[in-house]
């Protein structure tokens, strides 16, 4: 058999961004072949952070030991990069965009062997790893939720929740790139950072715990009075949050909003209000999904994934996104989704987009100016959490 597949060999190219100097090397080619100088094997880097970049964290359910984080260009509806991760990872972005953090767990032989837990520091442009900071107390292993790992508003500390089954928060100093200690928050969970050395957590008795820690991670914990009913109407784990102002909007199973100002040492609880009119309730509308609520800081608009119940369907994907003015507590819009979504977020710029993670799975983007669809990009098996630069 004769063929023109003539040129076969190990070809050696140079590493990233260095030009390949093949021209001189192709002297052994057949007479018919001409070297072309050789195309570089380049290495792409990401552009600087911008408001409509979306990081999508994917715990891959059928292969839970190996998650991914997708970097999505939310303007162009395109994949910018795919990061690898481990078991039930969490993610956070430095407030100054200078680092990306992945909170992660591995076993030395994939699904067995020695366990290691760490916070991994990534350069946001090259996606190269700058540090693995050991988390000696481990991490909470759960289907990933945003508020299980956070960074303080000043960027100084990483906070990683742990239930083993003692409930603590591991503190990592981002300057020293070192684990500094654990803060115990007995009976509480989730992390809402409110200052460089302070965070709040929700407790199973309906109170809010606020922990203030010093440089040695010695902490004092104060407990608020009960602000929601954990038996009758617990608040969900994902919140609308303004990390810059220290404002948290909890949403409950029954569709109540519990606004809490955590900017001061003592949390200030504002009156709860309902997402639902009597008519909405008669139609059995409920909030639901996973990351089911988002806040646009500048306009104080809340976006909530809604579906028609019955009760106890708090994880059901939403068919609409309802838009509320958090100041007037009035619904100002309803966006019918093209595809049901489990998670949403909004960009924090002046002309915000709504990003919806559909069950398909795909990321469908809407322009919040008029609710029109901007585009759709399909990726992954079970993408779950959405992060935007500056949220």
């Amino acid at each position: 058999m004769k063929r023109t597949l003539t040129s076969v060999a190990f070809a050696a190219a140079c590493l990233a961004a260095a030009p390949v100097v093949l021209a001189d090397e192709l002297k052994d080619l057949p007479a018919s072949a001409k070297p072309l100088g050789g195309e570089q094997h380049n290495l792409a880097t990401l552009s600087k952070p911008y408001p409509k970049r979306v990081y999508v964290l994917e715990p891959i359910f059928p292969v839970f030991v190996a998650g991914k984080i997708w970097v999505i260009n939310g303007e162009k509806q395109d994949i910018e990069a795919v990061m690898s991760a481990g078991y039930a990872p969490n993610f956070a972005i430095a407030p100054d965009h200078s680092q990306l953090y992945v909170f992660d767990t591995y076993w030395s032989k994939g699904f067995r062997g020695t366990r290691s837990d760490m916070a991994t520091f990534y350069d946001p442009l090259n996606l190269t790893i700058g540090a693995d900071v050991d988390l000696p107390k481990g991490r909470f292993l759960v289907v990933p939720k945003k508020q299980n790992a956070e960074v303080t508003p000043d960027g100084r500390y990483l906070l990683s929740y742990n239930l083993a089954p003692a409930t603590t928060v591991s503190v990592v100093d981002t300057k020293e790139r070192k684990y500094k200690g654990d803060v115990e928050i007995p009976g509480c969970g989730l992390i809402f950072p409110s200052a460089g050395n302070r965070f709040s957590s929700v407790c199973s008795d309906g109170t809010l715990a606020t922990a203030t820690f010093d440089a040695n991670i010695k902490a004092t914990i104060t407990r608020s009075s009960k602000f929601f009913d954990p038996d009758g109407d617990p608040v969900l784990e994902h919140v609308g949050i303004d990390k810059k102002k220290g404002m948290v909007y909890f949403v409950s199973y029954e569709g109540n909003i519990f606004p809490v100002d955590i900017s001061k040492e003592k949390p200030a609880f504002q009156p709860k209000w309902s997402l639902l009119t009597d008519e909405d309730k008669a139609e059995s509308w409920y909030p639901g999904g996973w990351q089911l609520i988002a806040l646009h800081r500048a306009t104080q608009k809340l976006y909530v994934l809604m579906h028609k119940g019955p009760k106890w369907t708090h994880k059901q994907a939403g068919e609409e996104v309802w838009v509320f003015d958090a100041k007037t507590k009035k619904r100002i819009d309803r966006i019918k989704l093209k595809e049901h979504a489990i998670s949403i977020t909004v960009s924090q710029d002046a002309e915000p987009y709504l990003f919806t993670q559909t069950e398909k799975p795909s990321l469908i983007t809407y322009n919040l100016k008029d609710g029109s669809e901007v585009g759709e990009v399909e990726f992954g098996i079970s993408p779950y959490l959405l992060y935007v630069d500056g949220d």
Binding site: R112, P165, E184, E237, H314, Q316
Partner: protein
């Protein structure tokens, strides 16, 4: 505050003290496992609360999904009202049996489901089978009565492998442990 929560708080408290005593997490967890497996006292301390059929999540779920008692590989099998994950029944195990090569977890959380045949409500221990990566067949998401993870003893997102030799989730089982 309900008894169960009190128990949890005591539980957390005890564990927290141990943590504070600089017991390493891994010793800590394996110690927990040993304690729980070996203990004569098994810490099942349920919460007492009056039933109200109209708001009973177990009954509501059973109605919504047309719960059945015949096919433990279907998401609407009656015991799975609060189960979230891959069914062990579909991966070589059963509703209360771990598949070959996996590790039964000594810990679980307990929910309650309505058996549509006898109309009675049973306590169901949601125990994970651990030690291998996701099984992964028959993904079912029941959320009747399920609560956020800051109430861990009522949450089904947690990897319920505490005390097992591995914290890797393989599949979800659902064993009957009592009747209400």
């Amino acid at each position: 505050m309900a008894k169960g929560l009190q128990f949890m708080d005591r539980f957390f408290e005890r564990m927290s003290r141990r943590t504070a005593q600089q017991v390493s997490r891994r010793h800590f967890v394996s110690g927990l496992g040993a304690a729980m497996v070996g203990a004569t006292f098994l810490p099942v301390l349920p919460v007492s609360r009056k039933a109200q059929a109209a708001e009973d999540p177990a009954a509501a779920w059973a109605k919504q999904v047309e719960a059945q008692t015949k096919d433990p590989r279907a998401c609407n099998y009656w015991r799975y009202c609060s189960s979230d994950g891959y069914l062990c029944s579909c991966c070589g195990g059963g509703p209360a049996t771990c598949p070959p090569g996996s590790v039964p977890s000594p810990t679980s959380w307990v929910g309650s489901c309505l058996n549509p045949d006898d109309g009675k409500t049973y306590l169901i221990a949601y125990r994970d089978c651990c030690g291998k990566d996701s099984c992964p067949k028959c993904a079912c998401l029941g959320s009747a009565g399920e609560k956020p993870a800051y109430i861990p003893q009522l949450n089904n997102d947690i990897i319920w492998c505490f005390g097992a030799s591995s914290m890797i989730y393989h599949c979800s089982s659902a064993a009957i442990v009592g009747q209400i």
